[in-house]
Amino acid sequence: MAQVPEYVRIVEEVFERYRGKPFVYVGTYRQRWDAVAKVTGKALFTTDFLKFYKNVVWVHSVRTKYAHAIIKNIDVSRAAKYPGVLRVVTAKDIPGVNDVGYVIPDQPLLATKKARYIGEIIALVIAEDPYVAREAGDLIHVDYEPLPVYTDPLQIVDLDTLKEKPHTRIHEERDSDIVAHFKIRAGDVEKALKEADVIVENKYRTPMQEHAYMEPEAAVAIPEQDGGVTVITSTQCPFDARKAIARVLNMPQSMVRVIAPFLGGGFGGKEDVANEIGSKAALATYLTGRPAVAIHTREESIIGHSKRHPMVTWYRHAAKKDGTLLSVEANIVLDTGAYASLGPFVAWRATVHATGPYRVRNARIDTIAVYTNTVYSGAFRGFGNPQVAFAVERQMDILAEELGIDPVDLRLKNILRAGDRTVHGQLLTEEHGVGIEEAIKKAVEAADWYNKRRLYTRQTGPIRKGIGIALMYHGNSIGVEGADYSSATIIINRDGSITFRTGLTDMGQGAVMGLVMIAAEILGAPPEWFRVELPDTSSTPDAGPTVASRSTVMGGNATLVAAYKLRKRLNEVASTILGCSPDDIEIKAPDVYCRSDPSRKTTWNEVVEQSFWLGVPLQEFGYFRAPKARWDEETGQGEPYITYTFGAIVSEISVDIETGQVSVDKIITAYDIGKVINPIGAELHAEGGSIQGMGYALMEEIIHDINGVVRNNNLSTYYIPTIKDAPEIIPLWVEAGYKRGPFGAKGLGEPSIVAIAPSIVNAVSHALGIRFNEIPIPPHKIYLALKREGKTRL
């Protein structure tokens, strides 16, 4: 047996010690640390820093005109001579490695031989003025030899065999356009099929979704006196950005400093594109010695950053008459577009979650990610899970229909409970916290499910109501995808104020506030005393990437460890002042006293001051590394994640059968997140995830034409929900504590979107008695389906 590391013991000890006890700060509604700055307009986002710099140069990206073509020649001579242009940059001007690929090195910063999608960058124009840069960009002449353009993954592979079809290879440097293949082989599917009473088999499609964060990507680079460069950029992963920029500039990472200021939304989209835009600004600074800024327009943002992978899939579920699931099979094709980005990881996560939160003993799952000539896909809130959850939850509803069982009852019969094994053979115990049954019960009760389900089954008139449910689970943190560590620093200053540093970014959903509340609880000092320092690779510790809903669990554990160690020291110092034992010290800052005799008391500031005199250091670094995940490549057996967040969503909708217009009336979300640390943050996640998921279900889809050109590259053609679309949202919580999470907490960032779309589509299918197996379902699609089935008069 390997030794349990100290930090794991601390987390477990704190979990046991606080279990069932009242909390002072955790679980309370509080103003977040950055709220005042954000309502007064003082919060600085990347481009806002520009007002502090003079003598700035502007970087414009010249992009390809063809989605798939060989680049025969690039002529920049006219652009270079254009008045106001300082420099035109092509690949040969890059001092280091011309690559910004995230998982595999397949993505050049500046294309040399080939364009593979419509956002591909050929050259950069550096000029005194953004308008000049753009005008000069038009003077760059490129000779292309166009190649066939593939915009549908089924042009590359066959869904039945998952084999490559003959086509012009998109990545000619690799031996296949299939980037990744993951499998699950569990039990005996053939036998299950023979024993089955019902078999449900369907194909599903989910769209390419755009993050549409309100702040387009940007970077400001500043030259440093030693030849290094500081880059302020909108990134979720400052340490990854630093690594990428250092490689492009051929500099040691110590010479590159990346600062991630407030982010105007991320949702997974500000990972690889930040490496790209950060590198572009840094390169301009390196070449000109002046501050440089690169800002993507909304159109560039849409054609130039990663998306949610479109999915095409085939599923087969087999079950007994009583509803017991016997087997699940699936062929899943994810379109990763022109570059892999995080595609392989997304495909892996999709595979792990491909059977949903159910007891499935027999399974055969094959997931592949393939290249096409569409905008590349990568991370997006949910990371492969929303796609498979849509298919699985539609399958469950169709199965329920075939069996004549209520969808809730069918699910209750099959869900994972403590003591069950997942499809990967992972034993779930009380220590993981398995709260899905409770989540279903809460959501179903709040929705008055059984009544409404019956009531809505026979309706007449133009407006039809429907109610639908969907379940989800979501593995916490990154599993086998990478080095799964996190860290945080807490410094108590001599005046008693507290500095908090983490390399995890706050995309806006308030994750960092949760960390502060954890530290506050342990230290006994109010969250308002903390000053958060935003990620800066020169001062904040490397906390790993801000992805995979890992902030609360991983960042939270690192924070907890740091706070715990400091608290121990504070107790000891207080004990020397007060004369009672360290274990007897209670801190309710500003008061510090002996629990056994509260009249023996001192103050927080006195304890801090004494610590300085006694030479007790009041800064601490907390580190946490997740236990190693296990995964067998051939069978998909192992322990893919440390634990899972569970959820049940019930949606109610009305649909106008004369127009096909759906309005979502109510969404009830019940999530088991172990322990609610920051309730307002959790509620906002539930609300924001619901609204984004609603967009995914009803309106959002990036459309490429046959030439690979994006048809809807701005916000008037790519629709996202507005205030008029927002339904009533009722967030409910289950707290089935996870023993190795901070106070039992699990992540919510990504889970909050996963099961929204299927719950809505299940409700629409319920209202109309029509099976929808594709999203989005905008009015025209619903109307056509109604027409096809003769269900509308018009």
């Binding site: 309502v39 307009g41 481009t47 106001g84 309100m214 702040e215 105007g264 939304g265 008029k724």
Partner: protein
């Protein structure tokens, strides 16, 4: 084409007069410059955010002579002589306007990128409709996109702002809020 290579230098510098948040400024601009860039980069009012540059997202809205306009669609020269209010000018230094206080108290802040626009649009709404219905609020804020999805909080915030204003609480001391 030959001409276009020199044309840029022929664009004249034009001096315009703006009153922003109660102060007068004279700025020199190119004829093609947008109001948003002048406000942000020449005058430093960076609460005005750019989310799309095409009048689609509402992040850049300001009050121009009392009207709600997307500053990304206004040429700076067209704004000559006008009075502009941005989020920075909603309350005197050290104070919060009732609307800002209400947006704080309803705890809806997420990334906050959309907030300046949403707050300014709310000011515009409350200048016209003193006691707006849900319907009014949705109509006036429909152009303000928020991808973090704080919409439900906006509705609550507007109502709370109405309440504060009715109670005669127009400004709040920033210190008390932070304390």
């Amino acid at each position: 084409m030959a001409g276009s290579e020199t044309v840029i230098q022929e664009y004249p510098d034009i001096a315009i007069r703006l009153n922003v948040n109660g102060r007068d400024y004279v700025v020199t601009v190119k004829p093609y410059e947008r109001l948003i860039d002048v406000l942000r980069y020449k005058l430093g009012f960076t609460s005005v955010k750019e989310g799309c540059g095409r009048g689609e997202c509402g992040a850049c809205v300001v009050l121009m002579d009392g009207k709600l306009v997307p500053s990304c669609l206004v040429l700076a020269i067209r704004a000559n002589g006008s009075k502009i209010v941005t989020l920075e000018g909603l309350a005197p230094e050290g104070k919060l306007h009732a609307i800002q206080k209400a947006f704080l108290d309803t705890l809806g802040v997420q990334c906050g990128f959309c907030f300046p626009g949403v707050i300014i649009a709310t000011k515009y709404l409350l200048d016209r409709v003193s006691d707006p219905s849900d319907e009014d609020i949705k109509n006036y804020l429909e152009g303000q996109l928020c991808r973090c999805g704080s919409y439900l909080r906006f509705i609550k915030a507007v109502k709370l702002a109405v309440k504060y204003i009715k109670e005669g609480k127009i400004y709040f001391d920033l210190k008390e809020v932070k304390g």
